[in-house]
């Protein structure tokens, strides 16, 4: 099995190269894309911002929807993760079931959930909140379970030794250790949901995204691009605020507990008011709606569209990796202790660019769907991958590095002999994870005009051919499963 690894890796590299060349990336930067962009900008400038109160109302709506969705995912994830972590749940069946629920939540794309829930609950915030909230459990639940499993078992043993029950031990010794990770994950997901909610605006989720989509549909580019700028500002703002909160949650100072709780409480109330949820008589319609999605129908050319989405994801991952691997290595503290700061700062900067917003702008500006989508995704991939790679390089066993350094080896000799071999497996894992993330993101980009299965989804929702949604869902699940199996196989084979 091990002998097959190089061939599989080679096949992946060839596929990625083919994907990059076939997408016609250069057209975006030169030629037709450029000419189109110049003409487009002529029509989009000057930007036409809506009145200030409307901007604020739209922003509040978007933040409320993304925030409530995140809150929902946290409320579901805490008990689910507790049931899924081996140190908090001794029953294997309960663990397996909860892990499976988390995996299913992750596998169900939020676009598709949104399309379904719109059918059930109608327009408004409810469908968006439920779609993003449930899908987020796939990430939040998984990371929460990991955070629980990574706690030091010592305090739990000590508290159990005082005669405490399982629940008491969980609350007194395990949850407090995981709280900073819980908060950081929630903030991270809030960030993602904010960006996703904008894209879901193209299928009807209320807020800035819907306003942008409406403007673009009217061919009112001056308004559409102005709203994109507002979204960008909102993303940057949230990034700053969540950075502050993350640091506060991790700080060794005491006294944040009460202030933090008060702040969180107020924010929650504001969010719930802003989201203005109502289930209506939607639950009663659930059965009738489900029937609409059966039997699946295959729209013409759906396989070509699937191929386009996968191609986008593959090319974006490869391009992102080309940038992220050297960047991540240079940013790792154990490679360049001092000079690495520059690269770390650069990664943070790239990560701050909301790739999904970038995609809207690029797709709209250049009019060249697939290539523009790839470029936007690649930027996003570079940011996330850069960080993951830096982390995996920093997590190697320093004693082995020290042993090699003690032989008189230079910095890069140590890197090649001790650091890279230790980090290689984690790096491969991250690359495949990014591919998986990109398949989902590429689907979303289809909504804004990057082509692929996202476009099929948008279209079938519009012409009420819901059977096609089922087909796309099945195909996507197949692709994601394939990637997961590949990752699993590589991990096994390389171990």
């Amino acid at each position: 099995m091990k002998r097959l690894v190089p061939f599989v890796v080679l096949a992946l590299v060839i596929a990625a190269t083919a994907a990059i060349t076939s997408i016609g990336l250069m057209d975006v930067l030169t030629g037709t894309g450029w000419a189109y962009a110049v003409e487009f900008l002529g029509r989009a400038l000057p930007l036409d911002f809506p009145p200030m109160d409307e901007v604020l109302a739209l922003s509040a709506r978007t933040l409320s929807i993304a925030g409530t969705a995140t809150l929902l995912s946290v409320l579901i994830s805490v008990p689910l993760a507790t049931l899924a972590a081996h140190n908090t749940t001794p029953h294997k069946a309960a663990r397996t079931t909860s892990r499976a629920v988390i995996a299913v939540a992750r596998a169900l794309p939020d676009v598709i959930l949104a399309i379904v829930f719109f059918r059930v609950f109608g327009l408004g915030a409810t469908a968006g909140v439920l779609a993003m909230g449930l899908h987020s459990v796939g990430m939040v639940g998984k990371l929460y379970a990991d955070a629980l499993e990574q706690t030091d078992p010592g305090p739990a043993t000590a508290v159990r030794a005082t005669g405490a029950t399982r629940t008491q031990t969980l609350l007194a010794a395990v949850i407090p250790q995981a709280t900073p990770a819980f908060i950081a994950t929630a903030l991270h997901r809030f960030d993602i949901n904010l960006r996703v909610s904008v894209l879901l605006g193209f299928v009807g989720v209320d807020g800035l995204g819907l306003a942008t989509a409406t403007a673009l549909r009217r061919l009112d580019y001056q308004r559409g691009l102005a709203l994109a700028v507002v979204i960008l500002a909102l993303c940057v703002l949230l990034e700053l605020v969540s950075g502050l909160l993350r640091r506060a949650a991790l700080s060794t100072r005491r006294g944040w507990g009460l202030t933090g709780a008060l702040f969180a409480g107020l924010a929650t109330v504001a969010m719930l008011i802003g989201a203005d949820l109502s289930l209506g008589d939607g639950l009663g319609r659930l059965g009738a709606t489900a029937e609409l999605f059966w039997p699946p129908i295959a729209p013409t050319g759906v396989f070509a569209d699937l191929l386009a989405t996968v191609r986008m994801a593959l090319a974006a991952t490869a391009l992102g990796a080309l940038l992220a691997v050297p960047l991540g290595v240079l940013a790792a503290r154990n490679v360049l202790p001092r000079a690495g700061g520059v690269f770390r700062a650069f990664i943070v900067l790239v990560r701050g660019i909301p790739e999904l917003v970038l995609a809207i702008v690029l797709v709209v500006i250049t009019g060249i769907g697939e290539a523009a989508g790839t470029l936007a995704l690649a930027v996003g991939a570079a940011g996330l991958l850069g960080k993951l790679i830096a982390d995996s390089v920093e997590e190697v066993d320093p004693r082995i590095e020290e042993a090699v350094r003690a032989t008189g080896a230079g910095r890069w000799q140590v890197f090649c002999a001790a650091t890279l071999p230790q980090a290689a497996q984690a790096m491969t894992g991250h690359l495949l994870y990014q591919l998986d993330v990109n398949v989902r993101a590429a689907t979303l980009l289809g909504l804004v005009g990057a082509g692929g299965v996202g476009f099929v989804l948008l279209n079938s929702a519009r012409v009420l051919e819901f059977g096609a949604v089922t087909t796309v869902l099945t195909l996507l699940l197949g692709v994601v499963l394939l990637i997961e199996l590949l990752a699993l196989w590589l991990r096994r084979a390389a171990a």
């Binding site: 030091d152 010592g154 043993t157 000590a158 005082t162 005491r254």
Partner: protein, 254 residues
């Protein structure tokens, strides 16, 4: 009257035997040191006493409770009466010293607790008193991970005192501390044991410390008891024989 009693106890992890045919008993108020090489089974033995792990064969009886036949509720009731101090202190670093001490009361107050104010006032007052006893009252509001190792171990002792225990177990409580702090902590444990007439079983790997501190020495080698004798009049070399890889079966087993 024995407070802790092992009858032919065996503990296996898969094919490995961590304890093998271990029998002994400890009477009320005895202060016993458990010595042996690392891997000899000291931690495993201590965990049996608090029913954190149950024997594969044989029987462990602690305070008249047979751990092999007791149910979950009975085991928790037993653990409440047995304090346990660990080598790595095992405090929740992010929580305050006071809240860490309060967790020692969980066995007798009902329901889960999260946060200092979720504990009854009386419990908090008691925790303050115990922190006072171990000399850390002025650190109560501080995060536990800002304390030195010796201070953290004092908090762990305060947490154990919150249980108002009858037995105190300690697993190499000073192995992570510098020699001077180690002596202070051991003195504190001895004082508290005498004040409260506790039965104490403490694993140690410093032989001199064990000899000067305990009333009785029990030696383990490869999961078997190879020494069990009063500490008075015992020479260092006799104890060191426990640490030899091979060697004669050691003479005095009481």
């Amino acid at each position: 009257m024995s407070v802790i009693r092992f009858d032919a106890v065996g503990v296996r992890f898969g094919a490995d035997s961590a304890l093998d045919d271990v029998s002994f008993s400890i009477g009320a108020g005895e202060i016993v040191a458990l010595v042996g090489m690392s891997g000899s089974g000291k931690s495993t033995l201590l965990r049996q006493v608090d029913a954190l792990h149950l024997p594969s064969t044989g029987r462990v009886t602690v305070l008249d409770t047979d751990t092999t036949s007791a149910g979950g509720r009975e085991l928790r009731a037993l653990r409440r009466r047995v304090g346990f101090v660990f080598q790595q202190f095992h405090l929740v670093g992010r929580l305050s010293v006071l809240e860490n001490a309060c967790t020692g009361a969980l066995g007798r107050i009902r329901g889960p607790r999260l946060g200092r104010v979720s504990y009854p006032k009386a419990v908090r007052a008691q925790a303050m008193a115990h922190l006072e006893r171990v000399g850390l009252a002025d650190r109560a509001a501080q995060r536990a991970d800002t304390l030195s190792g010796g201070q953290q171990q004092r908090v762990a002792v305060a947490r154990a005192l919150m249980q108002d225990p009858e037995i105190l177990l300690a697993d190499e409580p000073v192995a992570s501390l510098d020699p001077e702090t180690a002596v202070q902590i051991m003195a504190l444990l001895r004082e508290i044991a005498e004040e409260r007439r506790l039965t104490v079983l403490c694993s140690l790997h410093q032989v001199e410390l064990a000899l000067s501190w305990a009333d009785r020495i029990v030696g383990l080698r490869a999961g078997r008891i190879v020494l069990d004798t009063p500490a008075t009049g015992l020479g260092r070399d006799e104890v060191m024989a426990v640490y030899s890889q091979v060697g004669p079966t050691l003479a005095p087993i009481r």
